[in-house]
Symmetry: C2
Subunit: 183 residues, 2 copies
DNA sequence: AAGTTAAAGCAAATATTTCTGCGTTAGAGT
DNA sequence: ACTCTAACGCAGAAATATTTGCTTTAACTT
């Protein structure tokens, strides 16, 4: 057998334009109406794209939203590197908080949470990978799960259920110092 | 002006039966297929109820799921009362963890998260009220927000994105002791 | 026990979403 | 340039969901 004939994807040009248009449309609509009220025909119209294209690429609204939520923060942006793990974590947390203060980002996270099932999807997996990287680079630090439990989880909780409380003064600093307190 | 003629609601008997049937149907379906894939006709059929009744009572699937998610744990169950705040919090956290290990409860929380918007809904508000009660009763203890950030938030995060990790040994104890560590 | 009417049921009309087949456009490799 | 065909667009069909007007049932009040 030939080793996967690789059907030659065509991701550039027109396809890329469709993706970009759909992405913006989804973000707008999800922020305006909530992920549960966003339908594919609605997205297609706003994006100026044929609904069929959206159906064929994503299948249904939930998958589409989850997919777009996962890649919302650039996964290859540079991470803070001050030489001090604590400081790096604070800055990293601040970036995440700022990100999720955008209503569109928060709405996408809600959609991602809804789609997350029995391990088949997790739109925050990139954040976990980043935490792992920061800690490994420092050579020593709290377990990744502690960072998730006490820095990411509180942020996510607030994004989902108490978005206004993300604006609290020095939230990132408070969370990170609690992280180091119990060691 | 007449003081609200009180249209005399009829919540008993048949209405209560419909509510119970719909509640079970929603829990089953949401656990089986995820909140995004649950439709009102589907729920009505499983519940053996006319779709129109569901439309008229809840309007749409998202509201229905959010509404049922909010009252999933009995809000007036007795809270732990050992005389020791730390111990009470551990037991309380354990109850919550156990609760959300039921797939139906986890699925409802996902639905509630999706529906939670700009403060218009929060299916965890009862948990916050309980934390407040425990702390006030003890007369002294960490701020409620700390309990939310470092006990509830990690639990919720795990329910939503890493459900298998809820089974971890003494999760409740670990979270609560971290809560008291930074004081 | 009788009266009032909220809430449920039913059925038909309407609206929306989803699927399918086929022609068109244009991305990627030669 | 030219070829091949992935991905898009379009239109009509099919499937689903939602609304509406009316009838029936039965929960509360007196």
């Amino acid at each position: 057998m030939s080793a996967t004939p690789s059907p030659a994807r065509r991701t550039g040009g027109r396809s890329a334009a469709v993706l970009a248009a759909v992405r913006s449309a989804v973000e707008e609509l999800v922020a305006e109406r909530g992920s549960a009220q966003v339908t594919i025909p609605m997205v297609a119209e706003r994006a100026g794209v044929n609904p069929t294209s959206v159906y064929r690429r994503w299948g249904d609204a939930a998958s589409m939203i989850n997919d777009l939520a996962t890649y919302r923060i650039s996964p290859d942006r540079p991470l803070p590197d001050t030489g001090d793990l604590g400081e790096d974590l604070v800055r990293w947390a601040q970036e995440i908080i700022e990100h999720f203060r955008q209503p569109a980002a928060a709405a996408l996270l809600r959609g991602g949470a809804a789609a997350a099932g029995a391990g088949d999807s997790d739109c925050l997996r990139n954040r976990r990978a980043e935490a792992t990287l920061l800690i490994e680079r420092a050579g020593d630090g709290p377990p990744v799960d502690d960072v998730i439990d006490h820095v990411i989880a509180p942020i996510v909780y607030r994004v989902l259920f108490r978005p206004w409380s993300l604006a609290e003064d020095d939230l990132a600093g408070a969370l990170v110092s609690r992280l180091f307190a119990g060691r």
